[in-house]
Symmetry: C2
């Protein structure tokens, strides 16, 4: 075992942060380290927190950290900000709010942009969560801004997905309802002291009831919170652990873990194949040149490259 | 030339719809037809309309159609609804509003979900737009719900990207500003009769001013519209064509077209490689079985598959 591996297994935050950076940069050394660590993972309770911008997710995550710490649990947080694919930037105010907790050694926070290819969000977030899992954090929260693919990806990385909405965003929630009813294990109406809270709770109840029915199916609860006033957050923590116990007692935890692992494998295959196929090569250069001159259409060009590199 | 190709070139809506369905299903016949049609494309003015759910994009698109028709232009519309990745459903009310125009033979509307892999949105939307281009529509609008990757993908399919916001969604816009300033060619504050319109216009002006400066750089205008009252829409059409003329006169149109074509090629390479690698095969089955038993980690599993199928 290398000293770096030992440090990560001992929970050293600097070593953890270094490894996450290596993985974000797709550094082969990062992958080698994570392969060694992989057998130690699978212990953490992975919770996804997703919802539209402005729903107060970051404040809610900050409060969740407080309550989990009060219960004696160390907490890892992966905050994915897909809003800045070019800059890799993040919402400074929200991050600072959370970083107040960073002085506490029981909390490890990593925020990341959504640079690179679509789907890149999922890979980097999952890798950061794996590192925190290896570091021994019993709970890891993954916070993502949801709208379309984002929340689906996060649901495939975690055990429990909490969907956050706020009053007055009915249109937005309505637009996402099919996806939300599939992925939401716990629904949260935050800012529940604002006008329209009851309507939003009712809408969420309807969405929760669309869940596929099975005799022992989980009925997703709808929780009201006012994160800035720390109201409802302890109930939320109870619900998250209740869902965890449900997954364990029904054998669905192992099922989800296997499904998530398979999804991650397939994501890695596509990601690594893209890197191999699109890295500079004389073949790629000559095909792209032909494409640039209009001598070939994009389909023929793609088939040409694949015939050489990846025959059926 | 096959009769099917002739029909599409003649603008036959049924033949066009059939081809788009074939392409959505990734039917090899669809790709063969599109390869034949490809040299006839590149004539349409492709316009992306993106923004958060609830900003009134569909109503705005309906009004844009009216104004473009009044100017004697036939219009194709690709409406991407990424909110329903599982069901492939769409917002019925909005769609019905637009379908009123469907009785007009000068308008061709196709709406699609965002099924399948992340990034799938981009491919299907672009293919539908290519078909409409081949059918002879001089203007094709691509409407997508934006938040993160979505609007970046659409900007890589079109010539001009219009970003729509509404008053009171400052947090959401703020969260996306880095991306928006890169991709927005025209900014729209819709529902400009609602409280907070001035603040949103100012925010959009600031975002527009973050655009990279070059001596002949385009300065994205900020347009106020009230789509339900048909206010500001004619100005918007003027702005869109002004941007088109700017791209033509500076040589940037050819540059964008080449960049978009290259991006599409690379997307096709990854997409087709994923299909080849992840289709049922004894190799894949045995690796996935090993992964399921926990005998191998996902990285090693992915590398194993790629070593056999796609050696470096």
């Amino acid at each position: 075992m290398t000293p770096e591996i030992e440090k990560i297994l001992a929970g050293d935050p600097l070593a953890g942060a270094r490894l996450i950076s290596l993985l974000e940069d797709r550094d082969p050394l990062g992958i080698e380290l994570l392969k060694v660590l992989y057998p130690t993972t699978g212990q953490a309770f992975l919770i996804g927190i997703t919802g539209p911008a402005g729903a107060g997710k970051s404040t809610l995550v900050a409060r969740l950290i407080d309550h989990l710490r009060a219960r004696g649990l160390r907490v890892g947080v992966v905050a994915v900000d897909p809003s800045s694919p070019f800059s890799g930037g993040a919402l400074l105010g929200d991050r600072i709010r959370m970083q107040r907790r960073a002085a506490d050694r029981g909390v490890f926070i990593r925020s990341m942009g959504a640079r690179g290819l679509p789907g890149g969000i999922g890979r980097s977030a999952r890798e950061a969560a794996l590192v925190m899992d290896a570091m021994g954090y019993p709970v890891v929260l993954i916070e993502t801004v949801g709208a379309g693919q984002g929340e689906i990806e996060v649901s495939r990385c975690v055990h429990t997905t909490a969907v956050v909405a706020m009053p007055g965003t009915g249109d937005e929630v309505q637009a996402m309802k099919a996806g939300l009813s599939e992925i939401g294990d716990v629904f949260i109406v935050n800012k529940a002291d604002c006008p329209g809270a009851d309507e939003m709770v009712q809408m969420m109840e309807r969405i929760a009831s669309h869940r596929r029915r099975a005799p022992d199916a989980w009925r997703p609860p709808v929780i009201q919170t006012v994160a800035v006033q720390d109201r409802g957050v302890d109930d939320l923590v109870d619900c998250l652990f209740e869902h965890r116990r449900y997954l364990e007692s029904t054998g669905r935890l192992a099922e989800r873990q296997a499904g998530n692992r398979l999804h991650f494998f397939r994501q890695l295959v596509v990601d690594m194949a893209a890197t191999r196929l699109l890295q500079d090569s004389p073949e790629l250069a000559s095909i792209q040149k032909e494409l640039g001159h209009g001598g070939i259409d994009p389909y023929t060009a793609a088939e040409k490259l694949l015939e050489r590199r990846l025959p059926v």
